[in-house]
């Protein structure tokens, strides 16, 4: 049975975590912050390791956000984000 993403409260000290997250970005230009965020995602993803869990998290993160061209939105109920590397039409 595949593991399920924990979306119940799981951080013992939520305010401390949040403060630390914002503090991590202190004095950074937006460009630098984006690099920090990308590195943070990669570090956490490696810690989690389980691709099923990561796909569920990606789908949750994407849910409800419309694309700028009005395309379909992602759904948290979807089994996962589209798999990379599927054969696509010329783009």
């Amino acid at each position: 049975m595949a593991a399920t993403l924990n979306i119940e409260p799981n951080i013992a000290a939520p305010d401390e975590f949040y403060e630390a997250l914002i503090e991590t970005h202190r004095d950074l230009a937006p460009e630098q912050s984006e690099l920090v965020n990308a590195k943070l995602i990669l570090l956490l993803a490696n810690h989690i390791g389980d691709l099923d869990i990561l796909r569920q998290a990606m789908a949750h993160a994407r849910a409800g956000i419309a694309t700028t061209d009005g395309g379909p939105t992602g759904s948290a109920n979807a089994p996962g984000v589209p798999r990379g590397g599927e054969r696509k039409e010329a783009s």
Binding site: L35, K39, L42, G84, G85, R87, A90, S91
Partner: protein, 559 residues
């Protein structure tokens, strides 16, 4: 002795078929005398199938083109007795280095363990590869290469294919039981049959510059992401024989390819990499684009597609020519059995199924590499750069860096030709896997395991007692006498005394270092059945003649 393969021209020669009133009938016609077509011809001829090869040109590869030939390709060429020449001339390499901006991110070794005859890769200009293959093909009595023979029409008939061929002296018709189309990515045969290839076209251009120089770089694959000398793009450096270096610059989509080809544009790019006072000569310049695509089906009745004609990949990972050589390695023995009446035509459908599976694997890998190397969006670029920055200090991120997942052969685990395991095994040698090599001793001399296999089916039996029991010997003898013979290979830890295993028809292999037993998770009595293309198709903990015979039948689509 030093043949200039780049400039060789093969004369057109009129053949007897052109003077016949009715078209001549051949067993197999191979269209295209590139690396794939020539490998196909040699393999078929060695299986006893006469082959006619048609090529529309009279020269070998123009430029170095496919330069990276992988370990598995070399093993296939070893089976065809052309591997050593390639390796002797080629530059062997195992190590790759990845750079980001002005620093080294990490280096990797593609073949970290010893005990393999061949390196992970050699670099060799395609014209040498084709030249050596051509000479090997031309030395075989049942291969005929016809230069300046361009196929202009193809017709499928119930029991053959008819081709119309144009030559400098006019056209003629000829027929083949089967036609193997190895006529490249723009495959004229594919177009003549109204067939399509589909996939993803990348809007990016790359510049190949081959330069001749004496340089101090090691024989390694060096890949730069966003280097100071070529901002925001990638660069790849490779060593070739004859002091030639391949430099590959990503250019983006907006550049003018005609302009970028000019020496006055190319030379400054090279100087920015090598330094202002570097001395070099431009050997060859080319601009290329690519697509990741394949035909829906590789077999269309009696026309079978292989190599770039059937599938295309990006160059990152060297999966083009290498996968094409694996295609024909897969097809040769199947065509030979079908033509000999020893297997039904459905065996040819398994060529298509197995190699379509492999093509999907290659396309997936090469598409992912391309998306990492040339990010298609801003966020994709940001993640790519974050991975590269993390990779300098964190080993986990190095595994995300994708500068090309370099060609390894597909494990055909889903193939219907495999007999599923009934006994428990560990390790990589699952049914469908290409057989692993290991150092062994044969007749008291150092040798390699793979050199003892290939061409026919082989039963590899591990006998820890130093010699097969009389019962094992008699089972192996009976398997060697079947309609589709199974060659016997007995693996012993060390020969008990000279001649202990000297039974006719049995190859005795000493696994003195126990590396073979370890790689095959073998114990006393373990038996592997290898296909003629050196893929595992069945394995057991005990040799039983009826099981081996059933597995051979399954692997050849026989009832």
């Amino acid at each position: 002795m030093n043949v200039d393969y780049q400039r060789l021209e093969f004369p057109y020669a009129r053949c007897a078929d052109q003077d016949l009133a009715e078209p001549a009938r051949h067993r197999v016609i191979v269209v295209g005398a590139g690396p794939i077509g020539l490998t196909m011809a040699i393999d078929l001829a060695r299986h006893g199938v006469p082959v006619v090869v048609l090529d529309d040109d009279c020269r070998l590869s123009a430029g170095s083109r496919a330069i990276c030939f992988a370990k598995r390709t070399l093993e296939i060429w070893d089976r065809l007795d052309v591997g050593q020449r390639m390796v002797d001339k080629g530059v062997s390499w195992n190590v790759g280095k990845v750079f980001f901006q002005d620093g080294l991110v990490y280096s990797f070794n593609l073949l970290p363990e010893s005990g393999h005859r061949r390196p992970a890769f050699i670099n060799l200009q395609q014209y040498y590869c084709e030249g050596y293959l051509y000479e090997a093909a031309a030395s075989l009595p049942n291969v005929e290469v016809r230069w300046k023979n361009r196929v202009v029409a193809v017709a499928q008939r119930p029991d053959h294919v008819e081709l119309t061929v144009e030559t400098p002296e006019g056209s003629y018709r000829l027929q083949g039981d089967y036609v193997v189309a190895c006529d490249g990515s723009r495959s004229p045969l594919r177009a003549m049959l109204g067939l399509e290839t589909r996939g993803r076209v990348f809007r990016d251009r790359f510049l190949i510059a081959d330069v001749r120089m004496s340089a101090g770089f090691p024989a390694e694959r060096w890949f730069w992401f966003d280097p100071p000398f070529h901002r925001n793009q990638s660069v790849l450096l490779h060593m070739q024989p004859d002091n030639v270096w391949r430099i590959d610059f990503q250019l983006g989509w907006s550049v003018d390819p005609e302009e970028e080809r000019k020496p006055e544009k190319v030379i400054p790019r090279i100087r920015s990499l090598l330094g202002e006072d570097a001395r070099f000569e431009l050997e060859w310049v080319s601009i290329y684009t690519f697509a990741c695509q394949r035909m829906d089906r590789f077999r269309h009745a009696r026309v079978i597609f292989a190599g770039d004609a059937a599938h295309g990949v990006s160059p990152f990972g060297a999966r083009g020519a290498n996968s094409g050589v694996q295609d024909v390695d897969n097809l040769g023995w199947k065509l030979a059995l079908v033509l000999a009446g020893k297997a039904p035509e459905t065996l040819l459908d398994t060529y298509a199924a197995e190699r379509e599976f492999a093509a999907d694997e290659n396309i997936l890998n090469s598409t992912r590499s391309t998306d990492f190397i040339t990010p298609k969006s801003e966020v994709s670029r940001r993640f790519r750069n974050a991975v590269l920055k993390l990779a300098m200090d964190h080993p986990f991120a190095r595994r995300l860096v994708n500068s090309g997942r370099l060609s390894v052969p597909a494990t055909l685990a889903q193939s219907t030709l495999n007999t599923p395991d009934g006994d428990a095994f560990a390790g990589a040698m699952v049914p469908g896997a290409p057989a692993a090599d290991a150092p062994v001793r044969v007749d008291g001399r150092d040798d390699w395991f793979l050199s003892q296999t290939g061409g026919g089916f082989a039963a590899v039996v591990f006998c820890d007692d130093g010699a097969p029991s009389p019962e094992t010997a008699s089972t192996l003898h009976s398997l060697a006498q079947q309609a589709i013979p199974v060659e016997a290979i007995v693996v012993v830890p060390a020969l008990r005394d000279t001649g202990a295993g000297a039974q006719p028809g049995v190859t005795v292999v000493e696994d003195a270092q126990r590396m073979l037993a370890q790689r095959y998770d073998a114990r006393n009595g373990t038996c592997y059945l290898l296909r003629p293309d050196q893929h595992v198709c069945a394995r057991w903990r005990r040799l039983v003649a009826t099981r081996v015979a059933a597995a051979v039948a399954r692997a050849t689509c026989n009832p």
